[in-house]
């Protein structure tokens, strides 16, 4: 609660303020049109009437955005990093003078790890608070619940998590990787450097692992002429992996390819170690373990495993050094930064740059101006928004170290094009 902002007053008072702000809006264009008041109140900032034609919560000095993540419930542990990154980005943007001369104010809502709550809160942010953009959601389920709401009320959602693809919306910017970006390059790498031909696919049982494994299987069978020797899914929160570990021992795959999420990870890697599977001999490549998860798994249980992501905290570039230092300064030395946290950090920045390019806070104009936006100060290096509202980004493979950090062993030379509806992989 440390930096809780203005929204700690009751919602009714927030609404009252907004209503007052909105009541003032219709008058503004009249004044501007008469030509009598041609000098705006703020010399460098364009008039509110010009940059906000759809009644968003934009005043002459402030613009309101929403932050919508779970800070309670099972997902809180994953989503807290995203909230922190978004708050950091907003603070940095404000320190630089804000967006179009307006400071960003945020209203935070709790999705409570519950999808209907996400939908309710998204609606509240858009309808009641008139936020100019929402930074939020984490799981696919929460995004699926929020998507109809942002489409209906024409909001703008910046979604940070790597996800399964098969989706594209005018009202969403996907700042994480979609499945093909994350998967293909990693599989190519393990095939080339480790000579891997046989794969065992294991994941949690929901849409993201299933879609990812579908893509992985097609790539392994069709492009790498490899073989999938087993494929298993376990319910979320599952903690008994002994049977599948026995199958690993039986089938002896070159690579265990894992997309186990959340708390199950802890059980999975501990049991792997207990069963005597040494990850320095048995190659394991995962697409679901970031620095955040290692915090729970324990570095010693995960050492030498490979993780395929677009960002690692240990990335060696000046942008990332600044980002990590600023993040730790704001949230404490002990915090770790995972892939999604970095992607969440991109959200406010991309939105700021898009608003400035469009010269407007209007959602329609932002949606239109988004393609081609480049962020050269991104901690992951450089990103660019594709016309399909996903990001061009590099894919990297990191080898886990005992201290819970990754050593980057591979990165694609070029940015990879996002392809949410991959042909030949469906």
């Amino acid at each position: 609660m440390s930096s809780n902002n203005d929204n700690s007053s009751k919602f009714s008072s927030t609404r009252r303020k907004l209503l007052m702000g909105m009541a003032a809006l219709p008058a503004a264009p009249l004044l501007a049109n008469t030509g009598l008041f041609s000098t705006p109140a703020f010399a460098q900032a364009p008039a509110t009437s010009a940059v906000n034609t759809t009644g968003l919560a934009v005043t002459d000095t402030e613009v309101t955005v929403g932050i919508l993540h779970s800070v309670t419930g099972t997902m809180a542990i994953s989503e807290t990093g995203s909230v922190q990154a978004e708050k950091l980005a907003i603070e940095q943007i404000n320190a630089m003078g804000g967006v179009l001369g307006r400071k960003i104010k945020f209203i935070q809502e709790d999705g409570a790890s519950d999808w209907p709550t996400f939908a309710e809160k998204a609606k509240k942010l858009l309808v009641n608070d008139k936020v100019a953009a929402i930074m939020g959601c984490w799981t696919s389920a929460s995004r699926k619940a929020v998507l109809p709401v942002v489409e209906q009320y024409n909001g703008m959602l910046y979604y940070p998590t790597f996800y399964e693809g098969l989706e594209q919306s005018k009202n969403v910017i996907y700042t994480g990787q979609e499945a093909t970006q994350q998967i293909l390059a990693g599989l190519d790498w393990v095939n080339k450097t480790k000579g891997a031909k046989s794969f065992y696919l294991i994941g949690s049982d929901y849409i993201w692992p299933r879609t990812s494994m579908k893509i992985a299987r097609k790539h392994i069978e069709n492009k790498l002429s490899g073989k999938v020797v087993g494929e298993d899914y376990f319910p979320l929160g599952h903690t008994q992996f002994n049977s599948v570990i026995n199958k690993f021992k039986l089938t002896k795959p070159d690579v265990i390819y894992a997309a186990v999420v959340g708390g199950s990870n802890v059980a999975f890697y501990k049991q792997l170690k207990a069963a005597g599977i040494d990850l320095s001999k048995q190659t394991l490549l995962t697409i679901s373990v970031t620095e955040d998860e290692i915090d729970g798994i324990g570095g010693e249980n995960f050492v030498n495993a490979y993780s395929c992501m677009k960002y690692f905290q240990s990335l060696d570039n000046p942008n990332n050094k600044d980002f990590v230092a600023a993040f730790k300064k704001m949230w404490g030395e002990k915090t770790v930064i995972g892939d999604v946290t970095q992607a969440a950090y991109l959200g406010p920045w991309l939105w700021k740059m898009t608003v400035e390019k469009a010269g407007s806070f209007d959602v329609d104009k932002i949606a239109e101006a988004s393609p081609g936006i480049e962020f050269t100060k991104a901690p992951e290096g450089y990103v660019k928004i594709h016309p399909n509202h996903h990001l061009w980004s590099k894919t990297r493979v990191g080898q886990a170290q005992a201290d819970g950090q990754f050593k980057v062993v591979f990165e694609t030379p070029e940015l990879i094009e996002p392809d949410p509806f991959p042909k030949g992989y469906q």
Binding site: E109, D110, I207
Partner: protein, 386 residues
């Protein structure tokens, strides 16, 4: 409760006043004072009130504590969601899929044709019947298996809880057929009528209120009938009722099925108003939450349960908006207060402290109510609402 002299049909005067006041609040006061957006929230809360209503009958009157009402809420909701999803998945809407014309999540799970049990949900008539009957049938099977064997009390509560867990696992596990953990999302139209617009939501709100009032009348009818009195007798002295020649288990099965159907109607209205259904309503936590609504309202009061649902949900929404990181503690505190300070819920507070002091309109009623056999006092739960 003896046959009061002033009774019209099956309602006592104070019941009529209570229903009229509730209807007035829901139909006139709230729509006039709340903006559209808040009113839609109330519409959503009211769908839980159906569950609470069922629990008053099942738990308050018949003494059967079910911790699995979310299952029935979910079944009703899923029936409606299946119909709406099929309508939203017309071949024109889904032409980017490998197999157009089936719901998107089936396509993602490599299913290439509509499963047989989805077929009947193309018909709205079938769906409406299924919303009420599928959960009732489910409750019948469960009730028959349990009550005929005289499984009751805590054991029954545990079994219903297990049922909620099983149902969640089933829905999540069979994601090709159910949408898995995402649920069934992106519902759009009902017979071509766009349910996502604000005007549609307002209409659905009033439909929901009308259905709720109808269900309240039904609940009062059951309560005042001979059946209702047997239920209460059964709750207080099951053996005596049995020895008097009544088939206790049949009554229990009936009230359990009734509660299930009421919950399911709420679930279907939920899907229509919120626009999706997900397994997060089926599980153990939401099922227990629904029991809490009833407890806060007063488990012996039909109208109290409605107010309880509204109060708890309103508190949940406003706490979480004001204190996104601390709200759960506030809500927890509220529940502890209910249990410790006013165990008969809002209805108990009303009857103990407010009703006796009201003017002539309520006064006569309240005094008559306050004097009979046992004066209501916190702690003697059964007597309070009667």
């Amino acid at each position: 409760m003896s046959k009061a002299s002033g009774r019209t049909f099956f309602l006592r005067p104070q019941d009529i006043i209570g229903i009229v006041v509730l209807a007035f609040i829901l139909v006139v006061v709230l729509p006039l004072t709340l903006d559209n957006f808040r009113l839609q929230f109330v519409g959503k809360y009211l769908t839980y009130a159906f569950v609470a209503l069922g629990l008053v009958l099942c738990w308050g009157y018949a003494g059967i504590l079910s911790l699995g009402q979310g299952v029935f809420f979910g079944l009703g909701g899923y029936c409606m969601a299946m119909f709406l999803k099929l309508e939203a998945s017309s071949p024109a809407n889904t032409k980017i899929q490998t197999t157009p014309g089936i719901p998107d999540f089936m396509d993602w799970n490599q299913i290439t044709e509509l499963p047989w049990f989805w077929e009947p949900f193309k018909s709205f008539g079938f769906t409406t019947v299924a919303v009420v009957l599928v959960p009732a049938f489910f409750a019948l099977v469960l009730g028959y298996a349990m009550f005929k064997r005289r499984v009751g009390g805590v054991y029954f509560a545990i079994i219903t809880q297990a049922l909620a867990a099983i149902m969640t696992i089933l829905i999540i596990g069979q994601q090709g057929y159910t949408g898995g953990i995402n649920g069934i999302t992106d519902l759009r139209t009902l017979h071509g009528w766009d349910i996502r617009t604000d005007s549609a939501k307002t209409i659905l709100y009033f439909v929901c209120v009308a259905l709720l009032i109808a269900c309240i009348l039904l609940a009062f009818y059951v309560k005042s009938s001979k059946l209702g009195r047997i239920l209460v007798a059964m709750r207080d002295k099951e053996d005596r009722v049995r020895f008097s020649g009544y088939d206790v288990s049949s009554f229990k099965i009936f009230v359990f099925c009734l509660a299930a159907s009421l919950s399911a109607i709420g679930g279907a209205m939920f899907t229509l108003q919120v626009g999706f259904m997900s397994p997060s309503f089926v599980g153990i936590v939401p099922s227990i939450e629904m029991v809490i609504y009833t407890a806060v309202g007063g488990r012996l009061s039909i109208l109290g349960a409605i107010y309880g649902t509204l109060v708890v949900n309103w508190a949940k929404t406003s706490f979480s908006e004001s204190f996104p990181e601390l709200w759960l503690f506030g809500l927890g505190g509220l529940f502890i207060a209910v249990v410790l300070i006013f165990p008969n819920g809002i209805a108990g507070l009303w009857q103990t402290y407010i009703a006796p002091h009201l003017g002539p309109l309520f006064g006569g009623v309240a005094k008559r109510k306050a004097t009979p056999p046992a004066p209501p006092s916190p702690g003697t739960a059964p007597a309070a609402a009667e």
